[in-house]
Structures are given as structure tokens and as C-alpha cells.
Symmetry: C2
Subunit: 428 residues, 2 copies
């Protein structure tokens, strides 16, 4: 049997604890599968005294993750602290410089600093693996970079923030407004300390940027992700969408177009009979499309102790088996800097307007759409007691530019109150 | 750059041709991803003259796949001929003996001869990879043996024969009887030359046996798979199931129980709101359950030129990257011979009986069920003009033994006509 693979684990939150549990419970199984013992040499976390429900006395303790990362008895540095910079990045860089491989669950670090870290790792002949950074327990990084490596990837989509999907499906099932469900989610502990990471789409956007890089062979570029959160979605939108056969999801889409790489993380309408439309609650789903394989759909828990630790463990076992490849699936030096194509791919849109109850109001709106070149597929106007009535419009496929011209035009009609809502309908 | 990886491809049907197309079209991309050129040295098939739509003149031709498999300029023997024994097995054995790695799409060969081939491969320090053998383009072997390698797998399920799923969903959508849809499928070329491989569940059973081996660390044992085809499913069963919120699927289930390994490939009822229930047409779905990861669902095309070639290509690229592991995920010598547990896991069942129109008939049936210890969850009896009426029963969870006692008991009542239908309801 080969020498043991020795880990240094930094960060003992739910994922770190879950990882330790797997290693303690399944040592024999892991060795049978890899031919090596998986050992923990040392651990590090903010508080040494906290009771985490697993014994730590067999492992050396380091207060400083940088010191942990460079210990002689560590082969693989397991980074589970989080944060795009700070101690996570410092310890990762130190580990690579000291000749260690790195396994991380840190989407923010990779989305923001992935290219530089990959270059450092490859210069040092080391690897960084990060299955747990995207969609928790779903083996999506492995599927894209290995299983589908014979494909030119044409599109990657995903519902990758369980909290947002919980909020949207709960609004529909309980008939509650966004604010009420947001408060519920907060009380349940579903939200990040900064909730905008969830509901603003930032967390999911980090994941999308990583997927786009490995799918299209481009340098990870989180700043190029068009971000739109779920805060403006009303229960009315969800009901109207449902009535027309759609669900509203915070959907990430990355696609290479003639004008460059489009990366969007925004609320979208998807058919309620599609796998994405049927995804309720906190579950994640990633859709991978390749020129040979067609469409592959992967579904599973996107967060939580067990699922995330499972993904970290899978990476560690790959290293134990000697599987080594460039960080983003091909050498960092060969990754192209993609031009960011914003709103390159046309789509139909769902529009919701508050229309004043005046003669000719609807005609004015229709004329603005026509002048912008946006044609109407379906329209509904509702009875009302107020001075303004909701009007719902589904357009035919249109460019975002034409749509924005129309949205701009609505203002000058004098009959549209407030801000119109426009939600893309994604063909899935 | 490392030396090229040189292939010898035996079998130039749709998959072989699809593989050649990928290599010809995407040479540069494949090299960027693996650091090596992927080359075809030689090919072999039954007919040399057939026009396959791809040029073959750059490759050496061998009439005999065994000769192809042992050529000096072949590093990886790609077996795409099919058949559990015969030329496929002979050439695979020859390749291993000559020090070649093997990539195959051949589920029958692995299900029947997998253990012996794995032992031979590992004794020779070679690997056999077979992603394409199970569920076409879906990276399920990789997900199980690598991505989820940190999990104790608790259950594996799958709809893995697209033809059967097409037939069952088409019966429902078109309201046609089994025989009519079978003929349609035959005319569309969906059926194997021996249709029983499809509708008898044999093809899907081969796939299940392979999955069970890698999931549970056991020697592949196709003979232990309980097989039941879809031939006895009527449009009436499908309609009644739908009415009660279920779909009928040819579902494979492998599960380790206290009494041994249970492997079943049989029609089952699954909730129509579940991912399996929502799987229409020829698509495949595999559900993997692990103690840490929970439930992972994978969906995609289970057959066809592109998807199957994509899976074969993924295996080849793994070899180009130097990823090497035991055939069934752990050394063949360490795979246990599992005891076959038939019908170990209790479940509710759907029963359909033709009941004679006699006073007390239903009471007799109910008494038989009660005496066998099978309790009734729901029952429906329908109006009728004939001398016998269909009665539908959904039982509470029961053992298969108790159920069979009841089915046997129905005969002696003298009021049940023909053979009762019993379909398991699987909790998914």
C-alpha cells in the first residue's frame, strides 16, 4: 500500500466537521477505494475550545491557518474557511508555495482570485480542486471537466442558491410576499450573514463564473457576470407566471456567443414542466449542454454538512488516487480572456406594467413596443378598482436592447406607473 | 507535451463513428484539455466497404479485432462491438494480455464477465473503463466511483432503457395498448434485434448489475438480478396509476440489506411529481443515494451516437490524463461475493384483479389479504357490464412473501379471474 495521504484542515464549521466525520467513520472504505490511508495531521479554526461534536484530540492544532498549510506532515491543505481574500487566500498561497495540493469549498476565492491561484499552483506543479465550491454535493465540476471533456460545451445553466429557490417556491406555495418569506428564511438560519450574497445573486454568481471558466476554457471573470437578485419578484409575478405555465427561478446561464461570453445570474421564467421548473425548495440543479452529449441535468443538495463534505472528500480521494489535472481543466496559461457579451442572446420576456385607467392607455403601450421592434405574443389586462391596473405581456423573442428601448419608452407615455418589471423567459 | 495516446477502435456502428467524428472535429480542444494528442492508429469492423460518413483512410484497417487489439501502435483498445462473449471478449482479453488499456461501451460483457476481466486487467496493471456501458452520456460511473467515493452508497435506482420508457410514456400519452406501441417502436428502429433485451429488462438489468458492483463493492452478479419486463403492463394499469398520482416505470433498484444485496429490474409505480415520475420518452435517469450526499439525480440521453461517444471519449481522456483506478472502483480481489437477497425490502403494492360479479366476492378477496397479513390502503371497484369487474387495491407496506401468499390465496377464492397484476410502489 502507498503512503497515507495527510490532510491539514482549516475551518471547522459544518463542512469541516462533516469531513472529519466521514474520515473517522469510513476509514476502511476510503482505503479500499484508493489504496491509501486518509489521515488528518492537523486542524485549525478560530476557536479551539468550542464543542463541535467530533473529537479533535488526535490532531495537532494550529491557531494560524498559514502555519497549518505549510506543516511538513501535511500533503493536502483543505481550505474550508471561506472568504474571497484574507486568511483563506493567504493560507492557500502558502500551501502552494510549500508544495502542497489544495482542496477548497471556497467559491468566492476562486471566482475572484481563481486565475492567479491557478497560475501559482501550476507553476509549482500543484493542483487545486474545488468540487464543493459549486452546487454542494452534486459532482458538477467533475462532470464538466472530466465526464464531458470530449464535448464543446454550448451552454451551462443552474439553480445554485438553495435559499433563493426556497424563497421563491415558498412564496408560491404559501402565497406569502417576498418580505415575509425572507424573514422566515432568516429565522430558519438559511441566509448568509450578508443576505445580499444570497438574494442579490452574488453567491450563485460566483458559482456561475467558475462553471463558465471550466466550460468555455476562459479566465474566470466574476465581474462580467450580470447580476440581478430576487428582491423585486412579487407574489403577483409568481402567480401570473404559474398561470401561463412558468416558474420563476434565480437562474444562472453562461453561454459563448459570437459577441463573447455571456454570463447572467437573474430571475428567469422557465416552463413548469421542465426539470428546472420542477425544482422546489432548497435543492440545486445544474444543466450542462454539449455538442455531443446533448443535455445533462444534475440535481442534488447544494449545501449542508453531509453533501458539501461529500464533495470535499471526493476531491481528496481523487488526489489519493493520483488524479492530477490543471485547476480549470486546462493549463491556466491557455485560458482565454473572454470578451464579456452582455445580453447577447435574444429571448422572449415577461413584462408587468401598472397601467393608468385612461382611454388609449393600452394603445400607447402597444405603440411603444411596436416602435422598439418588440412584438407581443400574449397580453392580459385585469379588472381593478384602482386608478391603475396590472397589464401582463409576454413578448416574442427580442433583443435586450430593443426591450430596454421599450421600457424607456413606457416612461414618456405618461400612462405607466412605477417601474415596469421585465423577466427573461429562458428556453431550457 | 507528452506522447500521443493512440487508439485502436473495434466496431464502427453509430458509437464508433461518433467517436471518430469527435476526434476529427475537436483534436485541438482535446489536446488542450489533456496535454496529449489523441490519435487513431487502426480500426476494425465487419465490413470494410460500407460508407459510414467519416473518412477512414488515415487509419490502418484490421479485419480481426484481436489483431487490432494487440498492435504495437495501439495504447488503448476501444471495444464498441457489443455482445457478452465472442469477439468482444476475445479482443478485450487479448488487449489486456498485450498490455493495453481498454475502453468499452459493452454492458453485457461487463455484467457477465466483469469480474474475470477486472482480475485479468489488474493482474496486468491495466485498466478497463466503461462509462458508456451505463446510461449513455450520463457520467454515472464517474459520479459513483469518484465524485461520491466518500459515501457509503445506500441505494441506486435508474430508468436505464430508453425504449421501455418510450413505450410506457407513449402508451399513456396516446392511449394505445402495449402491442401497438411495441410495433411503433419496432418500426422506428428503437428495439434491439432481440426485443426481449429491451422489453424483458435484460439490457437495463446488465446496467443495474454493473452499478450495484461499483456502488456496494461487490462482484458483478447479473444472474442475481430479479428481472421482470414491461410486457404485462396494460393501458388500464397506466391510467389507474396516473389517477392515483403515480407513473409506471421500468425501474432498476439495487440496495444492500441485512439479508444481502437486492437487485431488481421491474415495473414500479413512482410518484408522478418525482424526478423519476416526470421522466418522459427515451431519456434515462439514475438516482444515487449516499450516506453523506443524500440523493443525487442524473438525467440525460441514454443512447445515440453523440451521447454514447461522449462517454467513451470521457474515458479516453481520463486515460490520456493518466487517471488510473481499479475497474470496479476498488481492487477486483477485494470485491465481495454478495449474497443475493430477493425481495428483502418491504413496499406497498398496486394490485389489479378481475373479480367475478358474485355476492361476497370482494369480502373473499379482502379476507385473503387479511389472512396473509397484507393491509389495504386504498381500493376501487368499477362499474361494468361484464361478468367480471376490475378491482384496484393499493396495499400498505408489505413483504413480497406476504404478498405472494395473498396472490396464491386469490386462486382458491374462485372469484378472481386470470392472473392478478402486482406492481411494487417504490419510495423515490
Amino acid at each position: 500500500m502507498s503512503a497515507p495521504l495527510r490532510l491539514g484542515i482549516a475551518g471547522l464549521g459544518t463542512v469541516g466537521v462533516g469531513l472529519i466525520k466521514i474520515i473517522r467513520q469510513h476509514g476502511e472504505m476510503l482505503t479500499a477505494r484508493t489504496g491509501r490511508k486518509i489521515e488528518i495531521s492537523a486542524v485549525s479554526a478560530r476557536s479551539r475550545d468550542k464543542d463541535r461534536g467530533v473529537p479533535l484530540d488526535g490532531y495537532a492544532w494550529e491557531d494560524d491557518p498559514v502555519v497549518l498549510a505549510t506543516r511538513d506532515d501535511v500533503d493536502v491543505f483543505v481550505e474550508l474557511m471561506g472568504g474571497s481574500d484574507g486568511p483563506a487566500k493567504a493560507a492557500t498561497e502558502a500551501a502552494l508555495a510549500a508544495g502542497k495540493d489544495v482542496v477548497t469549498a471556497n467559491k468566492a476565492m476562486l471566482a475572484v482570485n481563481g486565475q492567479a491561484l491557478a497560475e501559482q499552483a501550476e507553476a509549482a506543479g500543484r493542483v487545486i480542486r474545488f468540487e464543493a465550491a459549486v452546487a454542494g454535493g452534486i459532482p458538477v465540476i467533475k462532470s464538466l471537466t472530466e465526464g464531458l471533456a470530449g464535448n464543446e460545451i454550448t451552454r451551462v445553466m443552474g439553480v445554485m442558491n438553495g435559499t433563493c429557490n426556497y424563497i421563491l417556491t415558498r412564496m408560491e406555495s404559501a402565497g406569502l410576499p417576498y418580505e415575509a418569506v425572507f424573514d422566515e428564511a432568516d429565522k430558519l438560519g438559511y441566509l448568509e450573514a450578508d443576505p445580499n450574497l444570497d438574494v442579490g445573486g452574488i453567491d450563485a454568481g460566483h458559482k456561475l463564473a467558475i462553471l463558465a471558466s471550466i466550460a468555455f476554457g476562459t479566465q474566470v471573470d466574476f465581474d462580467a457576470v450580470e447580476l440581478e437578485g430576487i428582491g423585486s419578484i412579487t407574489i403577483e409575478d409568481i402567480r401570473q407566471a404559474a398561470d401561463m405555465g412558468y416558474k420563476i427561478k434565480l437562474l444562472g446561464v453562461a453561454q459563448m456567443t459570437g459577441r463573447g461570453l455571456e454570463q447572467r445570474m437573474s430571475p428567469c421564467l422557465v416552463p413548469d414542466s421542465s426539470p428546472l421548473g420542477q425544482l422546489d425548495g432548497g435543492t440545486n440543479m445544474v444543466v450542462l449542454e454539449g455538442d455531443s452529449v446533448g443535455q445533462i441535468v444534475l440535481r442534488g443538495a447544494g449545501a449542508g454538512e453531509g453533501p458539501t463534505a461529500s464533495a470535499v472528500m471526493g476531491d481528496i480521494l481523487d488526489l489519493a488516487r493520483g488524479f492530477r489535472m490543471p485547476v480549470f481543466g486546462q493549463p491556466a496559461a491557455s485560458l482565454r480572456k473572454a470578451r464579456a457579451a452582455r445580453a447577447a442572446v435574444p429571448a422572449p420576456y415577461y413584462l408587468r406594467l401598472q397601467l393608468q385607467d385612461k382611454p388609449g392607455a393600452l394603445a400607447k403601450v402597444a405603440r411603444v413596443l411596436g416602435e422598439a421592434g418588440v412584438s407581443i405574443d400574449r397580453m392580459r389586462q385585469y379588472g381593478h378598482q384602482d386608478t391603475a391596473a396590472p397589464v401582463l405581456i409576454v413578448t416574442h423573442k427580442t433583443t435586450r436592447a430593443a426591450l430596454e428601448e421599450a421600457l424607456e419608452g413606457f416612461r414618456s407615455t405618461g400612462v405607466v406607473e412605477g417601474e415596469p418589471v421585465a423577466i427573461r423567459i429562458e428556453a431550457v
